[in-house]
């Protein structure tokens, strides 16, 4: 697989995404936010971090980076675009995904291991996952409280566009297992064509033996199956 990782000023998970891609045997390239061309990718990753210092709103200023126009074109042609954390925030700001990421209900930056479960088996990203099975994937954000209006939420639910929800260690989705106040416990969503995924948790931080959880590997393995 050919992966392009976009680096914005303030991205800080770009090397993590790069590293995991390489470790799993893919051809990975960084693409600078000022570039005007992608490097012929199969998948684009918008990594976590604090693009442009997250001034004004998270992801709001990244919207005007030259490379974004190319990412939008790529997504519109059906290319895979995965936004993690700040990448998810950017995807909502540029309109590839609906809704917005608001400040956590606790007003605190939350950095912890978090269980999520897939609730969808109908996308490249989730096909190989078992709904209800908890995956331990770390979160690290202050603005991860997903919000969408009632009509938008219904659209996500009716079209099976919710990819991941926060849950407990048993896979139970409840208010208690919601770390940030996200509506309907949403941790990740898909666009209508299901080629764009945005998620707050960091699968790239849980995908090798050196770290505490390897559950992120399942998400990458699911994507890889699509390219075999």
């Amino acid at each position: 697989m050919k992966i392009n990782v976009i680096t914005f000023p303030g991205s800080n998970c770009d090397y993590d995404a790069f590293h995991i891609g390489k470790t799993r045997g893919h051809q990975v390239q960084f693409v600078w936010h000022k570039d005007t061309q992608l490097q012929n990718p199969d998948m684009v990753i918008l990594p976590g971090g604090f693009s442009y210092g997250d001034y004004l709103r998270c992801g709001a200023i990244a919207k005007f980076s030259p490379i974004i126009a190319e990412v939008i074109k790529f997504a519109q042609k059906g290319g895979l675009v995965m936004g993690i954390c700040n990448g998810f925030q950017i995807l909502t700001e540029i309109g590839l995904l609906p809704g917005a990421l608001m400040m956590n209900e606790s007003l605190k930056f939350i950095c912890q291991h978090q269980y999520i479960t897939s609730v969808n088996q109908d996308s490249v990203y989730t096909k190989g996952l078992t709904p209800g099975r908890p995956l331990d994937i770390p979160i690290a954000h202050k603005e991860g409280n997903y919000f969408i209006n009632n009509d938008g939420l219904k659209l996500l639910q009716d079209n099976d566009l919710i990819a991941f929800k926060y849950c407990n260690e048993k896979g139970e989705i409840s208010k208690e297992s919601n770390p940030n106040g996200a509506i309907d416990n949403i941790a990740g969503i898909l666009n209508e064509k299901k080629n764009v995924l945005g998620m707050m948790p960091h699968p790239e931080r849980a995908a090798e033996g050196k770290v505490l959880s390897q559950d992120g590997e399942e998400i990458f393995a699911s994507i890889e199956k699509f390219f075999v």
């Binding site: 709103r57 709001a60 919207k63 005007f64 909502t92 608001m102 400040m103 606790s106 919000f147 209006n149």
Partner: protein
């Protein structure tokens, strides 16, 4: 020159944990009369030109494009002439 004062407010349907926290703090120091607090953004912009009509269009455009997120926020602004520097 023109000074634009832009207000970006959370839509009423959007929860405002920051506002809620401020309200809790006010209650805790005895301001029982406070019913609700919403925290908004106030942005001041200075424009080089003196053309109010153009400024209206420009500020509206800026609000749409970047200052507000239409999913969660509404915006309003007012303009005033200020002496040039």
């Amino acid at each position: 020159m023109i000074k634009a004062k832009v207000f970006v407010n959370l839509k009423p349907s959007v929860l405002d944990p920051q506002g809620k926290q401020v309200m809790n703090s006010l209650h805790s120091i005895g301001y029982d009369n406070i019913e609700e607090v919403r925290v908004s953004k106030f942005i001041e912009i200075k424009l080089k030109s003196d053309d109010l009509e153009k400024a209206e269009i420009e500020i509206h455009e800026i609000c749409e494009k970047i200052l507000a997120n239409p999913n969660t926020e509404t915006y309003s602004w007012n303009l005033e002439h200020i002496p040039g520097e």
